[in-house]
Symmetry: C2
């Protein structure tokens, strides 16, 4: 559960989620190209790959293999309960 917060702590990983929100199901190279173009991030391929592993371990990402391509999809399910945890004050 705490993996979700650690995954969101890095700005590059948040940019990846932004990119996948704009266009879901991208491959690793597509993400690299669009991160460099849109967000001005000069991260290498291996760096992005490791970020994708972290996001997948947190349950925020789901990978789909197809031939030599691997498409990545967001899963926003773990995001919903993490904020309402502190927003409701009349719980006690």
């Amino acid at each position: 559960m705490g993996d979700v917060f650690k995954a969101l702590a890095d700005p590059t990983r948040r940019a990846i989620l932004d990119e996948l929100t704009d266009r879901d199901g991208q491959t690793l190279f597509e993400i690299c190209a669009r991160l460099a173009a849109k967000h001005g991030l000069g991260s290498s391929r291996q760096a992005i790959s490791q970020h994708l592993d972290v996001l997948a371990a947190a349950g925020l990402l789901q990978a789909r293999r197809e031939g030599r391509y691997k498409f990545h999809h967001i899963d926003t399910t773990p995001l919903e309960p993490i904020v309402e945890r502190w927003l409701r004050k009349g719980s006690k």
Copy 2:
């Protein structure tokens, strides 16, 4: 803005927010005692103090001086826009 995510990345800081949600306006020593009792965390006073600094820098905390006491209050304002960022897909 990214400070909010980095602040939430640490489990001790999340426990502090839990404690302040349950009982707002506690002092440093109160937080230390209740963290040790409820959450089983054996963190020292200085460690908690530094965590409070991080939370305050992220805008999640607001301090109020009164004599030799310093009461800490949550501010959940920065929490609201951070999740809807990825939840809405029909924004493009």
